[in-house]
């Protein structure tokens, strides 16, 4: 009587669904998380440098050095907050973090610039933050260079090459193009894998799994019934993120919405199957939590191309990123949303994700059988 069986299955799924919805706090967090994260990424996590505190050690103190200092100050990148007067003050200023960079003008700065055609500035940066240090010194270098051209002989600059720049896909260089796809991957991955792995491990830990297994439902039906509500939750989350990205951060939606939703769906199933695998190997919720939380969070942020470009990583890490599910998801998202391409450009990502699903599920079924015997 297949009809009765399906009824039982839906009854079970409904029960699981109610179980989740009864827990208001968890629900609040599941839906509050994408919003909080998007806001943080949108407004806070940015590698742009603005208003960096710098210290000036002006051994010359002439009008040219002062003019350059005020030009640096008006650039928006730097605020000259500390003015120091001896070599011994450099170290404490950097060590305490009062300044990220110290500019040292040589004595007779203006005179050397005009009479000898060359003057020099020493830039000392706090490279304990290497990304910031190299960005700051690059910006300072660019400002100083253009200052030299403005105040030096005029015709030289006009002879150089005129570079017409076109930034494809993202003319304003907005960081949102990186972080919306990244946040989607992070949230879908963690929420889905974490919730699934823990909810199954919970049944095991409390001993209720045994009871479920002797019920007339097949083990596969039990698993599906348990994960089905999470598919719904994760998919709703994906929609919320997309909507916020589109309305609040004006992320483009250039490609097919249907394809985008399909890719999201596949990724959610992928995260679910990973969660199932984690739960089959963990005895307790704690172990499941450690695998899914500690094991997935940092790698998802760092190895998926979310914040840091994969091409810049050491080759071994580039290889490793190939087995990171979010990498393929993020790549597909960007291709569809930002580049506006169709299935011809994302079939590879889709196939890889499907392959991973098959792999994880096969492995969990194997593990599951071993446990039962």
């Amino acid at each position: 009587m297949p009809n009765k069986k399906t009824n039982k299955f839906w009854g079970f799924a409904k029960k699981e669904f109610r179980h989740i919805f009864r827990d208001k706090r968890t629900l609040l967090i599941i839906f509050g998380m994408p919003i909080a994260q998007l806001l943080i990424f949108g407004y806070v996590v940015t590698n742009e440098i603005k208003d960096a505190n710098i210290a000036i050690f002006d051994k010359s103190g002439d009008y040219l050095s002062q003019k350059l200092t005020s030009k640096l100050g008006s650039s928006g990148y730097f605020i000259p907050t500390t003015f120091i007067h001896s070599e011994t003050e450099i170290e404490p200023v950097l060590r305490s973090g009062k300044a990220k960079m110290v500019l040292v003008y040589e004595p007779n700065f203006a005179q050397k610039f005009y009479k000898e055609g060359k003057s020099s500035i020493q830039i000392i940066t706090d490279a304990s933050e290497p990304n910031t240090a190299s960005l700051l010194s690059n910006y300072a270098w660019a400002i100083i260079n253009s200052f030299a051209i403005e105040n030096g002989v005029k015709e030289f600059s006009s002879s150089s090459i005129d570079i017409r720049l076109r930034m494809l896909y993202n003319p304003e260089l907005k960081a949102v193009f990186m972080f919306v796809p990244g946040t989607m991957a992070l949230i879908l991955m963690l929420i889905t894998a974490m919730m699934t792995s823990i909810s199954i491990a919970r049944e095991k830990e409390l001993g209720t799994m045994e009871i479920l297994l002797v019920s007339p439902l097949k083990p596969s039906q039990i698993i599906i019934g348990k994960v089905l509500p999470y598919v719904g939750l994760a998919f709703t989350n994906a929609l919320v993120i997309l909507f916020l990205g589109y309305t609040v951060f004006s992320l483009p939606m250039r490609g097919s919405l249907l394809l985008l939703l399909l890719v999201n769906f596949i990724f959610i199933i992928l995260a679910l199957s990973l969660g199932i695998l984690i739960s089959t190997v963990s005895k307790t919720q704690q172990v499941a939590m450690f695998f899914s939380m500690i094991g997935l969070m940092l790698p998802t942020i760092l190895l998926s191309g979310f914040i840091f470009p994969i091409e810049n990583m050491p080759v071994i890490l580039q290889w490793l990123s190939l087995i990171m599910p979010p990498r393929w998801f993020i790549s597909a998202l960007k291709t569809i949303m930002i580049k506006g391409e169709g299935i011809l450009y994302v079939w590879k990502e889709i196939l890889i994700m499907l392959g991973m699903i098959v792999f994880f599920l096969t492995l969990s079924i194997k593990k599951f059988k071993v446990r039962l015997s």
Binding site: G97, P130, N131, Q286, E311
Partner: protein, 371 residues
């Protein structure tokens, strides 16, 4: 005191009896440290460049050779068509397209300021800005050479300002020196906080907490007894992580370890106290996980682990005053890399201590209410 010691002893027995958990606590973080410490870099090591050369002259070929010779560029061959080259950007085969128009050489030699077009894949804004800076500097230095060659050095050269940059505390700009202390902060926090939080709520879930509640143990004794074992594990984890970082990444330890561990000690009281607070107001491990995860991810992202906190908007800077990870992130890097002293980190020290007292008080009070 004796009661607290008994609880601690009991907790340790339970922790060491769990054979699956221990390797996880120590192996997973160290493996992550090893793998991830090198991932976080914006430094461009390889820009794939396609040149569409309509001029096909001596000069344009010389420019292509310059890019080819640079360690930062790989030339991706393309046909003489802008559409074909943009197609390569679409399929991620190339990052940048340089279009050299016809008449480039003639314009350059006659000082007509020749035009070139540079198309960049700007989905990652930072990478695009860097690629633009590198490419422009190669083109400009090339044209300057041509100008010098033509005008001869007897003519007046324009004045210039030379800059010498020195990178203190990390002269080779090693990203691992920056990331290892940062990742350590996160791992130690997550492990300490989650273990504590899950431990308490697990007792609730399986009902053993009722048994403890009927014993004459005082609330604060119970909380302290729960806190200390995980505090020791987290401190040990920090020491272990530092050792691994020293041996494998040769991270500098320029400051006083005593100072670092004193700060870490206070920080962990705060983090674990937070864990207890969360768990005493939750009824299942699942709830604890989600609440903890929610706060952790916000604290982590705002702590400055990847990006400078100075550039954040004001409201974020204000928020960071109550972000424990912000302080620990700062102190860990300052002490290890810059050899910061107590006077340099006194503000973080005081703030963290105040937060620790507040959170611990709340944790003890909250616990009393639920029973």
């Amino acid at each position: 005191m004796r009661i607290i010691l008994y609880i601690i002893q009991k907790e340790f027995l339970q922790i060491f009896r769990n054979k699956t958990m221990l390797p996880v606590i120590f192996m997973v973080p160290i493996v992550q440290l090893l793998i991830l410490a090198n991932a976080a870099t914006f430094e461009m090591k390889n820009i794939n460049l396609s040149v569409v050369d309509f001029d096909n002259s001596l000069r344009s070929r010389e420019i292509i050779r310059r890019f080819d010779a640079s360690p930062f560029y790989s030339i991706v061959p393309t046909e003489r068509s802008v559409e074909k080259a943009v197609e390569l950007v679409h399929s991620n085969k190339t990052d940048a397209v340089l279009v050299i128009p016809k008449g480039f050489e003639k314009d350059l030699d006659n000082a007509y300021r020749p035009k070139v077009q540079l198309l960049l894949n700007a989905i990652n804004g930072t990478s695009a800005a860097l690629a633009n800076a590198y490419t422009s500097s190669i083109l400009i230095s090339y044209s300057q050479n041509i100008m010098l060659e033509k005008t001869g050095s007897n003519l007046i050269k324009p004045s210039s300002i030379s800059t010498q940059t020195s990178y203190w505390y990390n002269p080779e700009l090693k990203y691992s020196h920056f990331m290892v202390p940062g990742i350590l902060v996160i791992l130690v926090t997550i492990i300490g906080m989650f273990l504590t939080a899950l431990n308490l709520v697990r007792e609730k879930e399986i009902g053993t907490i009722e048994q403890i509640n009927v014993t004459p143990i005082k609330r604060y004794q119970f909380i302290i007894g729960k806190l200390i074992p995980f505090w020791i594990i987290a401190m040990f984890e920090l020491a272990f992580g530092l050792l691994v970082g020293k041996i494998l990444f040769n991270i500098p330890i320029n400051g006083s370890l005593l100072l670092l561990f004193s700060f870490a000690g206070i920080f962990l009281v705060l983090a674990l106290g937070g864990g207890l607070l969360i768990s005493s107001s939750s009824s299942s491990q699942q709830q604890v996980m989600f609440v903890a995860f929610f706060f952790m991810i916000i604290f982590i992202l705002m702590s400055g682990i990847f990006t400078p906190t100075e550039s954040m908007p004001n409201w974020a800077k204000i928020f960071n005053h109550i972000n424990p990870l912000y302080y620990f992130m700062k102190v860990n890097r300052m002490v290890l890399l810059k050899g910061a002293r107590l006077s340099d980190i006194s503000e973080s020290f005081i703030s963290t201590s105040i937060l620790a007292v507040i959170v611990l008080t709340f944790a003890i009070r909250r616990y009393r209410k639920t029973t």
